[in-house]
Subunit: 402 residues, 2 copies
């Protein structure tokens, strides 16, 4: 007999996946409905409307894709890119390279503008690059999980719109935890995920786009051969699974047959968004900000330093310099094995140099912050680091109880 | 305040999604583990081994893809297809057209061989077509949900291997419910889904492939730009999200960073496969066969007729001719709204003419079979159909109690 799996209970303070709300976990236990059951279609329509609110958009189109965040990034890019199209991707961290990778595979001409990971771009510099390179699409990361930096976007969006370019933004690490103004910032298509500030397990990507994008998607519409032999289109999107022109119809009031919607994940998303919206998105932003202050105060009081420009750090991730002489992975192992706490390492030039503490969704709670600070201090002291003892949790309490 | 969603409890007798095992639903309620938490990696490795058993394969590679069944079909096809490659797709139902659609989008030269949906191909005819067209890849559906037909595959597989072609098979509708012999039939790559005979919610695709396929995938390996700027490859796979060369490494003992695994769905899959394997796959096949006999006996006793050749009908789907003068959708609505029972309509030439009763996974239970037969009889009588009354459930009981 194969035994059921067993798990420990973790305090997850990484930049995702984060702890799911208890009622999200319970919602997934709801028995299955058929994909076209009127009761399930009603749940999908409610999800559609709820997705729009943290995006602050009046877009008609907003829905979930049955895949993790990067499936949404790929769906968005391949919906807009036709072979040879110029895509400008300013990179200040790891995930711009993912956009570049996807765009390249979609046969775009990719123009990658790279900078050090310690800060974001001046918007003017990006605008200048757009003027130089004249791309069709500008694709950017709003909040970069690898370094915790968050890029201001409003001027870039305005410039793109004025010049009739498409502006695509990855808001995976910010959606629900930090203000995003899709309409005001003139973002044409934005993508988020379920596993960060929405506090839903990984497995869904969220997307919204405006009529400018919809027009392109409609012009590329090709219904699949199994449903029609007539609706052929030379400009069709390269993927069937991630074809927004079909997904949009699947999520419409007259759904076409495409994939079989991931019932339980949609239940989870409904509940996660519901809790977020009932808390209030402004209230959620304030909670993330407060917990971020407490994390920063604790880290500072311990005598540790941060990576990168604190003025553009996003509240949902804090990158911390690993002290000299300390093995970052030993500390992470000790946190996990002795304290049940997970924090993250980082990528590329920051690998081995930086830890990241996440502060997202249901994981963004006072008790988690106090626990991670206490555990990190204890693990560092145990491993002989030269830090201030007994200060971190007190500094965080000062923030909470002031 | 937005209210929690509410659902009715359904008896789902469609060809998927089907009812999930109660303990699968409970497993999804397990709190989240991080994607690289050693405890989660252990669960993934157990899943990997369990996936192989219903495929009856000794392949090294077997894993889940975070997307519904068709994401696996696309991943498999784009892993093998390079632009201009010839792909032969014999079609005896709806889903071969999906394979053709995906292959076409992958820029293959698609050779579609079509026949009436009422029966399968003679294997010799397919072998002849392979000889004529000399494709690189032959892609087929094992069990076709649209018409309930199941294609014998053994000779085709042997011929493909002898001639050094790739043989890809969609086993979505059969995996776990009907015997599949990946190694014996010489299938190079096979794909299944979570939402049918594994009794797990939709959202995961299962894949296994042998060393012949692995060699191609390895030759096309391109690690993404965010992790390496060196591992570039002109032959790279067209998608990043569905790139088996990366997914294979993500599921290895030394996982690379790619997507964020869908924790709760993997919990569900672990539990679904565990229950299937603890029942025994032979025992599962026998249960599906017995319930199929009961469904057929009941439908026949009612005086209804079947669509297609019964000798090649798969046990997991039964297509039934909608009696003349009866509106198939009215009957389906009545089943759902009065009896809480869902059965399916069909596609293309069978739309409006055929109902399909599914018989899959946890939904394949005696009480469900008796309930659907009783409900269908009652709905048909209510709508004035000229059928035998009081016979269907008795005929099914004869099967169960003989």
């Amino acid at each position: 007999m194969i035994q059921p799996f067993t798990t420990s209970t973790r305090t997850i303070m990484t930049p995702g996946p984060v702890e799911a709300y208890p009622s999200v976990l319970r919602a997934m236990g709801t028995p299955i409905l058929g994909q076209f059951d009127p009761e399930f279609l009603k749940i999908m329509q409610e999800v559609k409307e709820m997705i729009k609110i943290p995006f602050q958009t009046k877009n008609e189109e907003a829905f979930a894709i049955d895949g993790t965040s990067r499936s949404g990034l790929e769906a968005a890019l391949i919906a807009l890119i036709e072979p040879g199209d110029k895509v400008l991707i300013p990179s200040y961290g790891r995930f711009a390279y993912l956009l570049a990778e996807i765009a390249e595979r979609a046969r775009a001409e990719v123009i990658l503008i790279e900078k050090e990971w310690d800060s974001v771009f001046q918007q003017e510099d990006i605008i200048e690059a757009i003027e130089t390179h004249q791309p069709k699409i500008v694709a950017m990361i709003h909040g970069e999980t690898a370094n915790g930096q968050m890029q201001p976007l409003d001027k870039i969006g305005v410039f793109c719109r004025e010049n009739n370019l498409f502006f695509m933004v990855d808001t995976v690490a910010t959606y629900g935890g930090v203000e995003i103004k899709v309409d005001e910032w003139q973002i044409d298509i934005a993508i988020a995920g379920s596993q960060k500030c929405v506090s839903v397990p990984a497995g869904l990507s969220l997307v919204t786009y405006n009529d400018r994008v919809k027009e392109v998607i409609e012009a590329r519409y090709q219904l699949e051969l199994g449903l029609s032999k007539e609706i052929r289109n030379e400009r069709h999107i390269s993927s069937n699974y991630l074809d927004l022109s079909q997904l949009q119809r699947y999520w419409s009031h007259e759904p076409i047959n495409h994939h079989t919607e991931a019932t339980s994940m949609i239940y989870a998303l409904h509940e996660g968004l519901r809790l977020l919206l009932n808390e209030g998105i402004q209230e959620s932003y304030e909670r993330h900000l407060l917990n971020d202050q407490a994390i920063k105060a604790g880290i500072e009081a311990m005598g540790l330093t941060f990576y990168g420009d604190l003025t553009t750090k996003m509240p949902t991730v804090t990158p911390i310099m690993i002290p000299k002489g300390i093995d970052g992975e030993n500390v992470r192992d000790m946190l996990l094995n002795e304290f049940g706490v997970e924090i993250a390492s980082s990528f590329g030039p920051l690998k081995g140099k930086v830890w990241r503490i996440g502060n997202m969704g249901y994981s963004s709670r006072k008790e988690n912050v106090l626990h991670v600070l206490g555990a990190l201090e204890a693990a560092l002291l145990y491993q002989g680091a030269n830090i201030n003892s007994g200060k971190a949790v007190q500094a965080a309490l000062e923030i909470y109880l002031k």
